[in-house]
Every structure is written in structure tokens, then in C-alpha cells.
Symmetry: C2
Subunit: 135 residues, 2 copies
């Protein structure tokens, strides 16, 4: 397989992985949400804290998210750009969710950057950065 | 050179590049700020807009930053973690600056993720994501 085809295979794998992850969020399925993440994950989330490290802290960011999300949970990609080599990749995306505040459900557009490395078992996520512009 | 030594060389090059970039920001030196950036740069910045594309829009994010920054400009790394392959890399960091609002200068801690690819001429930045937690 040539370099371009390999790269394209990696991009397909990463896109499928992130789409599975978003689907797991919509299903409130914690094991599937965490399935592709490295133990040393570094997370920069929309709400405080300023940083979360490791899977226990990462899981807590989803507790917070789900506490403000009514069913059906919305967590959808609007676009996704993947830059991948054979063993390091990053992804930039625009996404939206629909948190409920004071009884009112409203669309929230946000930005996502994901960092990945390839282990012998496949791609793992080592970094997520979710944010909205500061007001 | 072995793979580990090559990787380490790339990490050293990327760290030096980002430190030059931060120094250029502190000097309000636009050509040096933009020197390492790809034409297709995708920028997610602290203030709106939600996204900036390309070097003209990237330059405008610095106009806004400098309009709220008095000399000496503060723009410093608190830590930096680099994940690099031979031709794709990403960097996560905590930084701080000192914007002046209503005549008052105050420290602002923020998160930074940078995405890079290696061109024949060396590493170029194709993505920056700066943010603070939403309040």
C-alpha cells in the first residue's frame, strides 16, 4: 500500500472512531465514550476546571455534561478535518449540543480539537480540547 | 539517526518554534508571529469569532489581542507537551497573558492546542486553539 492509501486508511479509521465516540455520548454510554482514550488523557473542556487529567477526571466532565442534557442528547459534528501521519494525528471540528438551562433547551455551537497517537492496537485519543468563544 | 533521536530532534524544533512565536507576540512583531503558519490555518481563538481561516483572519485576531494588551505584553508558556511523528505533531499547553480591561491589568490563564505538519522546509502550524473555560 502506498503512503497516500495508508494515510487515507488512517483518516477513515479516525473519522469512524470519532463518530462512534459522538454516538456513545448521545447514548450516555460511558464505556463506549472512554473506549478509545489513553490513561494519560489531557482534557480542556468547555466548563471549568481549566484542565482534567486521566480517565477518572475525564469521566467526570461527562457527568457534568449529562446533568445539563435532556434526552434525546444532541452531540453532533458539523465538520471534521483530519491531519494524520502513520502514528500521530490531530482533528479539528465544529460541533453542537443542546444543553438545557433554566428549563430551556438551546443549541450551543463549540469547537473541538482532538490529538491521537497510534499504539500497536490502533489509534488512541490522548488529548481533547472543547471550547466556546469567551464573552 | 534512530527513530527516538529523530523524534527528539523534531520536539526540540517545535518547542523552539513555539517559543519564538510567543517572543514575537511579546514584541508585537507581526511578521515573526506569522512566520511559521500555513496559508490554510484554522484558528479557534479566545474571543469571537468562533473560527478564523487563513492568515489575514489570523492577523486580525492579533489586532484584537494587542488592542487590549499594554506594554510590556505578557504571553508566556506555563507548560508545553509535544507529541510528534516524522511529519505530523500536536502540542498542548497552559499559558497566561495580562489583558487590560477598564484600565485594570489582570492575569488571564488559558489553554492552547497547536497542530503542525512538516513541509520540505520544516514544521508549519496549521491549527491553533486558544480558550478559557466558559463561565
Amino acid at each position: 500500500m502506498g503512503v497516500n492509501e495508508e494515510r487515507s486508511t488512517d483518516e477513515v479509521a479516525i473519522r469512524a472512531m470519532l463518530e462512534r465516540w459522538a454516538r456513545a455520548v448521545r447514548a450516555r454510554d460511558y464505556p463506549a465514550i472512554l473506549a478509545g482514550h489513553a490513561p494519560e488523557l489531557r482534557m480542556f473542556d468547555v466548563p471549568p476546571p481549566i484542565e482534567s487529567k486521566g480517565l477518572d477526571e475525564y469521566r467526570r466532565t461527562w457527568d457534568l455534561f449529562f446533568s445539563t442534557s435532556k434526552d434525546p442528547v444532541v452531540f453532533d459534528f458539523d465538520d471534521m478535518e483530519i491531519t494524520a501521519s502513520a502514528d500521530v494525528a490531530f482533528v479539528t471540528a465544529r460541533m453542537h449540543c443542546e444543553p438545557t438551562e433554566a428549563g430551556k433547551r438551546a443549541r450551543l455551537d463549540f469547537r473541538l480539537t482532538v490529538g491521537l497517537r497510534k499504539d500497536p492496537g490502533g489509534w488512541v485519543i490522548t488529548h481533547e480540547h472543547h471550547s466556546i468563544p469567551a464573552t
